[in-house]
């Protein structure tokens, strides 16, 4: 093991790890809005929006993320969709994870006992107010846990954007191996950085989960 090399390349990998965090955070943020929109479509009273959302979710779930990424990056220009690699990584990540998050959100909302919604409606609250004041606060715990698992997958999937030459952790690691010929050291260090990122994500999820479910400990 070449420890001196590992120390030397650490700053470069940290910088690249930051790109991994950046691309994942942006994709997650955007993905949450996409997911919320999909939930709204899926619970619409009209059938066409429901079909649209279901079809979209099926396509995303039925194809590998890697293929989605290649399709948009290399196939996009043919229909006038030209994205720089970083933006492409964020967008494909967001639209991919959004589909999964929407299912997690819907599941969490449906897990709240129907009596809660009935009690709220019987007091005179509308559908939206019921969702806001009664259903979402109770679904939040489960939703946060499920979204957390997906966020972890998102971080790990971000290594795939190396294929469209975004200089994130995995891409930087490959570049460093090209110049140092030390795959064991470089990959071990990059793996360690993924672990650090993912533990940070898990810590945040746990914190948010506890906040959202404080009422159950009272």
């Amino acid at each position: 093991m070449d420890f001196n090399l590992m120390i030397d390349i650490t700053p470069l990998l940290i910088k690249a790890a930051w790109v991994t965090v950046d691309i994942s955070a942006r994709a997650l943020f955007l993905g949450l809005f996409i997911a919320a929109a999909l939930v709204a479509l899926r619970t619409s009273r009209l059938a066409p929006p429901r079909w649209l959302a279901r079809a979209y979710i099926s396509v995303i779930r039925g194809t590998p993320y890697f293929v989605q990424l290649l399709l948009v990056f290399y196939g996009g220009p043919a229909i006038g969709l030209r994205l720089d690699p970083f933006t492409c990584g964020v967008m494909v990540g967001a639209f991919n994870i959004g589909a999964y998050i929407s299912e997690a959100m819907r599941g969490a909302i449906e897990s709240v006992d129907s009596g809660q919604s009935e009690a709220s409606r019987s007091l005179g609250f509308g559908r939206l107010a019921t969702l806001q004041h009664i259903i979402l606060p109770q679904a939040a715990g489960l939703m946060i846990r499920s979204i957390g698992v997906l966020a972890i997958i998102l971080v790990k999937n971000s290594s795939l954007v190396s294929i469209i030459s975004v200089v994130e952790l995995t891409y930087q690691a490959q570049r460093l191996i090209g110049s140092t010929y030390k795959p064991l050291e470089v990959f071990m260090l990059s793996a360690l950085m993924y672990i650090v990122i993912i533990y940070a994500v898990m810590g945040m999820i746990e914190f948010l989960y506890r906040r959202a479910t404080r009422y159950t400990y009272r």
């Binding site: 009596g115 009690a119 019987s122 007091l123 005179g124 609250f125 107010a129 004041h133 109770q138």
Partner: protein, 259 residues
């Protein structure tokens, strides 16, 4: 909107409801004058809960009319948001109490009671707090204002649920088997609160399995079976001298232990 004193508080005309092929309500007529207490008894699956839930539009009826203080509850002419506004307004005038309480577990007892007046009537939080404490006092739970529902007994939960329903100052209270999910020793505390409301001349519709309570508290008792009102009468008459064989049979089964 009519509010003359002879307008019945609740009126049902030929109310029909089916779930798929199963006809649950086969044309129910009912008139509840203000201040009256009607109890509805009958075997499981007789349609009595569905009837009560239909009045609150938690079940959408397939035929007939329901009027609350002269205002139609079901308005097939209104669609989408217009209907939502209408039904929210109607529901604010009815208090509903459920078998399984359905308290909001993420809120304190006081917040459960004050949520609707704060959010729906725009009541200031100090006024809402005062009202909430007054109502909790009335159901004997002022000391539990800060407690969360998970720390309450079933009887306490149901009393909070009653206070929550009262917070909107409803014109009528609907009780859907309010004591059925309670341990026998907790039934009395809820019944006492309901009796208190009866003494204050609150208009009430009570679906119950508690025959003794129905007899004691109501002005009029309806016996339902298989989606129809088999008979309706004063409780004294219905319990001691029913006209129909089906009623006799039901009462024999249910009065065995309660006399």
């Amino acid at each position: 909107m009519t509010t003359s004193t002879d307008t019945p508080m609740v009126e049902l005309k030929g109310v029909k409801k089916h779930f798929g092929d199963l006809e649950v309500l086969k044309g129910i007529d009912l008139r509840v004058d203000r201040g009256r207490i009607i109890s509805i008894i009958g075997p499981s699956g007789s349609g009595k809960s569905t009837l009560l839930r239909s009045i609150n539009h938690l079940e959408v009826i397939d035929g007939g009319n329901i009027l609350l203080d002269g205002m139609p509850v079901n308005r097939p002419d209104l669609k989408g948001l217009a209907f939502e506004r209408h039904i929210n307004h109607i529901r604010q005038n009815m208090g509903m109490v459920f078998q399984h309480f359905n308290l909001f577990p993420h809120m304190s007892t006081l917040d459960n009671v004050t949520l609707a007046p704060r959010r729906l009537k725009g009541m200031q939080s100090t006024d809402a707090r005062e009202l909430g404490m007054e109502l909790l006092e009335r159901v004997g739970l002022a000391d539990k204002a800060k407690a969360y529902p998970s720390s309450l007994s079933g009887g306490q939960k149901q009393r909070v649920a009653i206070a929550r329903a009262l917070a909107m100052q409803p014109k009528v209270m609907l009780f859907d088997e309010a004591t059925s999910a309670l341990d026998p020793e907790l039934v009395e505390e809820v019944n006492r609160v309901m009796k208190g409301l009866a003494e204050e001349h609150m208009t009430m519709l009570i679906v119950t399995h508690e025959m003794a309570f129905a007899r004691d508290v109501s002005d009029w008792t309806m016996f339902m079976d298989e989606g129809v009102v088999v008979e309706a009468n004063t409780p004294d008459r219905l319990f001691s001298d029913p006209d129909h064989e089906r009623t006799c049979h039901f009462l024999r089964k249910h009065l065995g232990s309660q006399g």
